[in-house]
Amino acid sequence: MNAIKEAFKTVSDLWSLMVGLRVTGKYFLEPQRTVRYPWKALANTATYKGHLELVGGMKDPFKPRCISCGMCALACPSHCLTVVKKKAPKPTPEEEKAIAEAKANGEKPRDKTPKDPEQFIYDYTLCSLCGTCMENCPAGALRFSKNIYMAGYSRNDFLFDLVVKLRESEATAPTEPAAPAAEKSEA
C-alpha cells in the first residue's frame, strides 16, 4: 500500500514539473515582451517627469512667465534652485525727473524693474523631482520637461540656467509665422 502511495507521489511530483514546462513552452512561442532599448524605445514616457523647465509667457513663449518671487527656492526640500532677480534699469534723465516729481507729490514711483528672472539656476544633481516647487509657484511658471533621457559627461552638465535653456529652445521649436526675431534680443 505504501509503495503504491510512494509511486503515486513520485508521478504527481514529476507531473508538477511537466505543468511548469507547459507554461514555459507556451510563453516561448509567444511574441517577445521585452524591448531592446537603444534600437527601440517604449512609448509610455508621456507622463514621466524629466528635469524642471520654465514655462514661457503668453506674449513671448521664450521669455519665462516667472515673476522671480523665489517661492520655489524657499519650498524646495533639497535647495536646488537659485533665482537671481533682475536689477532695475538705470532711469533716463526724464524718468529721474518724473520720479522726483512723484516723490515730491507724495506718490510712490512706479517700479519699472522687469519681473522675469535674470538667471534661474537649477542643480539637477540635487533635484528629487517631487514637484513641490511647481505646486507652490503662484505664476504657474514651472513644469517638468519631457527630456527624460538626459545624460552628461560631467557634473556641470546638470547645473544649468533655465532662462538660457528656455531661450535656446527657440532654435529647436517649430517655426511659427507670428514670432518676430527682433523681440527675443531684449530678454
Binding site: G20, P77, C130
Partner: protein, 388 residues
C-alpha cells in the same frame, strides 16, 4: 612560519572579531554579504558554521543608513515627503501614507473622501508591485531564474499605471499632507480596470509555473518555522506573522482611511514556515485586487487635496502623533513630536523589515546555509528600509 602579530586586526573588523570571541572550536566564521546576490542590497550576516550547518548568525546593519530621521529635523513637514519615497523603494506609497497620515493626525486635517480612495488604490497597486518584486527576487535566490521575468512583465504594467498620476516609477512622492498631488485621470482608471482581470488571469499561471513545483516545495516546505510567540517577541508584522497563523493586519486591527468600508480577507497560514509566508503573499494578490475593484466602484467625485493644505512653510502644531499603516512588509509606523517650530522636533520611523530581520538570528540556528537563504528571502527584506 611566524604568526602575524596583527592577525587580530587583519582577520576581520569589529563585528567579526567580537562574534568570533564565543566561537566553538573548529568552527568557521563566514561573512554572508555585504555584497552577496541573495542579500538584496547590502545586508551582511556573520555566521558561524560547522560544515554546512549554521551554529549562530548575526545580521550586521547600517550599510545603507541615510539619516532619514535626522533629515526630518531640518526639513519642514511638507518638505520631508520626498524622503518617504526613498525609505523603502518596494512599497514607497505605504511610507508616504504613514508620514502624511501622522502629520494629518497631529494637525487634525480632514482628507477629502476621493483622496482617501485614490490613496487606497495607489497604495494597493504599489503593494502588488512590491509582492511581485519579492516573488521574482525570492525565486531568483532559490535558483529559479525565469519567474522574475514573468513577475516583472506584470510589474511593468503596474508601474505604467502608477506613472500616470505620480510621474515616477519607483520612488514616489505622491501623497501630500491633506490629500494627494494629482487626481487619477480617465486614462489611469481605465488602465486599472483593464489590469485587474489581466492580473487575475496570471495567478493560475504563477501557481502552475512555480507554486506547485516540486523543486520549490522541497526547498521551502518545513524550512524556517517561526512560532507565533517568537513573532510577538520580536515584533514581527505583515506576512511574516500572518504566515505563522496570526491574523494581524493594521488595516483590520487598527483601521484607517476607507478600509473599514471594504470587504476583504486577511489571509493567514498555519504552516508557520517559509511556505506559509509564501502562500500568504500569493493570497494577498487576490485581496489587493478585490480592494482596488471595490474602491473604483465606490470612489466619489470631488477634490483630492483639502483646501488650505499645508505649504512648505507651514508649522505643525505642538503635540505628538503616531500613525501606522499596513505596508507590504508589515506595520509601517511614524511617530512625530512637534514643539510648534518650523521643523518637526523628532520623527521616528518604524520599519517592519527591521523587526522581521531580527528573527533571522534565531530561526537560522541549526539550518544548512542553503535553507538560511530560503529563510532570509521569505522574510521579504528591503535593506534601505531596515537601515533608514
Amino acid at each position: 612560519m611566524t604568526q602575524n602579530p596583527l592577525l587580530e586586526q587583519v582577520a576581520g573588523d569589529f563585528y567579526t572579531n567580537n562574534f568570533a570571541k564565543t566561537a566553538k572550536e573548529g568552527s568557521l566564521i563566514l561573512n554572508l554579504g555585504p555584497q552577496h546576490p541573495s542579500t538584496h542590497g547590502v545586508l551582511r550576516v556573520v555566521v558561524e558554521m560547522d560544515g554546512e550547518y549554521i551554529l549562530r548568525a548575526e545580521p550586521v546593519l547600517g550599510y545603507l543608513h541615510r539619516m532619514h530621521e535626522k533629515m526630518a529635523e531640518v526639513k519642514t513637514a511638507a518638505q520631508f515627503i520626498p524622503n518617504m519615497g526613498r525609505v523603502d523603494y518596494g512599497h514607497a506609497l505605504g511610507w508616504n501614507w504613514a508620514f502624511v497620515g501622522a502629520v494629518e493626525k497631529l494637525a487634525g486635517i480632514e482628507v477629502p473622501e476621493r483622496a482617501e480612495y485614490v490613496r487606497t488604490i495607489t497604495c494597493e497597486l504599489n503593494r502588488l508591485a512590491s509582492h511581485l518584486l519579492w516573488w521574482g527576487a525570492y525565486l531568483l535566490d532559490l535558483g529559479a531564474f525565469t519567474p522574475i521575468m514573468y513577475a516583472f512583465d506584470d510589474r511593468e504594467k503596474i508601474l505604467d499605471i502608477l506613472q500616470i498620476p505620480t510621474g515616477s516609477r519607483l520612488t514616489y512622492s505622491y501623497f501630500r499632507v491633506g490629500g494627494v498631488a494629482q487626481d487619477l485621470n480617465e486614462d489611469c482608471i481605465a488602465s486599472i480596470r483593464e489590469f485587474i482581470p489581466w492580473m487575475r488571469s496570471r495567478l493560475p499561471m504563477y501557481k502552475d509555473l512555480v507554486s506547485d513545483n516540486i523543486i520549490l516545495r522541497k526547498r521551502i516546505e518545513g524550512v524556517g518555522v517561526i512560532e507565533p510567540e517568537a513573532c510577538r517577541r520580536y515584533g514581527a508584522t505583515g506576512p511574516v506573522i500572518r504566515g505563522s497563523g496570526v491574523a494581524y493586519d493594521v488595516r483590520r486591527s487598527d483601521p484607517y482611511s476607507v478600509y473599514p468600508k471594504l470587504d476583504f480577507e486577511i489571509p493567514t497560514s498555519e504552516l508557520k514556515d517559509a511556505r506559509g509566508r509564501y502562500d500568504v503573499r500569493i493570497a494577498e494578490f487576490e485581496q489587493s485586487l478585490r480592494i482596488i475593484e471595490q474602491c473604483l466602484d465606490m470612489m466619489p467625485e470631488g477634490d483630492v487635496l483639502v483646501k488650505g493644505a499645508p505649504k512648505p512653510a507651514w508649522k505643525a502644531p505642538k503635540g505628538e502623533a503616531y500613525f501606522a499603516v499596513e505596508g507590504a512588509r508589515g506595520k509601517i509606523g511614524v511617530y512625530l513630536v512637534s514643539d510648534g517650530g518650523k521643523t518637526l522636533y523628532r520623527t521616528k520611523l518604524r520599519a517592519p523589515g527591521f523587526c522581521n530581520l531580527s528573527l533571522f538570528a534565531e530561526v537560522s540556528q541549526g539550518t544548512i546555509l542553503a535553507d538560511a537563504v530560503a529563510i532570509l528571502g521569505s522574510l521579504d527584506l528591503i535593506i534601505p528600509e531596515i537601515d533608514r
